[in-house]
Amino acid sequence: MSFMEFLSYAFVQRALISGVLVALITALLGVFLVLKRLSLIGDSLSHVALSGVAVGLLLNITPVFCAIPIVMLSSLGVYKISKNKKIYTDSALGIISSAGIALGLIIAALAGGFNTDLMGFLFGNILTVTFPEMILSAVIFAITILCLYFFYNSLIAVVFDDNFAKTAGVNVERVNILLVLLSAVMVVLAVKTVGIMLVSALIIIPPTSALQIAKKFKSVLIYACAFSVFATVAGIYLSFIFNLPPSAIIILLNLIILLICSLTKIWKSKKN
């Protein structure tokens, strides 16, 4: 099947548009999360998304819409717990993650056990993206771009050194809350693309690849977006051609890009 023929299907168009938007959101926010050593927030919140999805399936509400407020509240919980110096951030993420899975399993059992819908959220199925979900991705993408435009330098200052950022008049609390809330929405959108099990890979791998080869912050953002979009589009196409799970292909392509970037970095450092 030619690429043009592939593009003629409506469900493929929705998958590609949603996939590209989610790839851009995860790449952009992922850069800040990776540098802030918060990249596992994706893993943790995706497990909470399981609860949200299960609630949606139980109440017969579109799961993504149901999961967003639940995951947003949990992200604030992670932030508040990690601010409490008695509990480390990774411990807070672990606590929220376990709670999310435990609740999700109970609610799923109440809803009649694991059905195909829930399995779809566990491993992702971007080819089943609906029109409202695609519109939601576009809205969240627009909000993410606006937030990054308005808070770009503040976010960099907070990631670089939050003590300095505070003394430079940056409202560190507001910037951190913004970052975790955007991450929460991003995770729910990404769950549909690659599934609960693989969300963190989509958040971590493209920024990590970009950090291997880019020397400036804006270049890192551009490379991360380019890698993420390429892997998503190629992943959807290849999965369609070879009848394989798109989420797995997307992540494997991202891993191949990371390998190439790492080898390039090693080669450059040996050359110098």
Partner: protein, 271 residues
């Protein structure tokens, strides 16, 4: 107008009292060395002044404004011993210095061409322009500290808070560092609060000493420091050595002896 005024400040970490009933005042042009052994509350005091920790008890005024209402952070410069910068942070030295201008930005914190020019000017002044395009994380410790000093000085702050800023510097860079700070103090009347263990290095520059060990042991001029019974009592057998260092550095009548146990090394650093 006082630059800093602290009244009855106390602070506890859970049950451990770190600061007890701290009172002192700094005026424009003061250059204060803040001394004290590890765990004496120096960094905690600074974090409270900067609003990074809450003042649990007591009052703090910065430029005659209560800390909670203080907004003009561009008047305060803060340089710490070491930043916890992410290892792969893709920021150049230029980007880091320019971040210092964030505190001058109201609303949208976006940089313009004038900010770039100002950044270049301060980097040239501090002799770090030659590596402006290098990644901050790839610079040596001394170069990083020079860049961070640029970030701190870019707003020409009226009050500089320096927390052991010379730790990563070699001896000649240290000397140059303190000359720059001293020039700011003399020419612009910049108030400086310098946390240090190295009395021998800063003795010739500062005009006041603040000795802290959970509470204020001593606060006064360099001359008073050399003749203080509290200082003699606190530093014990080391007092002689300490004052010798100050005497070598410039001003001080001579020595006292007394008994208190604190460990010091032969370079004049309180351990």
């Amino acid at each position: 107008m006082s630059v800093l005024e602290i009244k009855n400040l106390s602070f506890c970490y859970t049950t451990q009292q770190v600061l007890k009933n701290i009172n002192f005042k700094a005026d424009a042009g003061d250059y204060i060395a803040l001394l004290g052994p590890n765990g004496s509350g120096k960094t905690t005091l600074i974090k409270i002044l900067l609003g990074l920790l809450p003042a649990q008890k007591g009052k703090i005024n910065l430029f005659d404004t209560p800390l909670k209402d203080f907004k003009t952070w561009q008047n305060i410069g803060y340089l710490e011993q070491k930043t916890s910068t992410p290892r792969n942070m893709p920021l150049t030295a230029f980007d880091v210095v320019r971040l210092g201008l964030l505190s001058t930005k109201k609303g949208l914190k976006i940089f313009d061409k004038a900010d770039n020019k100002k950044t270049e000017a301060v980097m040239k002044k501090l002799h770090c322009f030659s590596y402006k395009d290098k990644l901050f994380c790839e610079l040596s410790g001394g170069q990083q500290q020079r860049v961070l000093l640029g970030r701190t000085l870019i707003n020409e702050p009226k009050f500089l808070i320096l927390d052991e800023p010379s730790t990563a510097l070699d001896s000649s860079s240290r000397e140059e560092f303190f000359e720059i700070i001293s020039a700011l103090n003399k020419e612009n009347k910049t108030t400086i609060l310098l946390v240090t263990h190295d009395i021998s290095q800063v003795g010739k520059y500062v005009n006041k000493f603040l000795v802290l060990d959970k509470q204020i042991i001593f606060y006064g001029s360099k001359e008073e420091f050399c003749n203080s019974a509290e200082v003699t009592s606190y530093f014990g057998p080391y007092t002689q050595h300490l004052i010798d260092h100050l005497h070598t550095a410039g001003t001080c009548p001579l020595p006292h002896n007394c008994g208190h146990n604190h460990e010091h090394n032969h370079e004049g650093e309180i351990l």
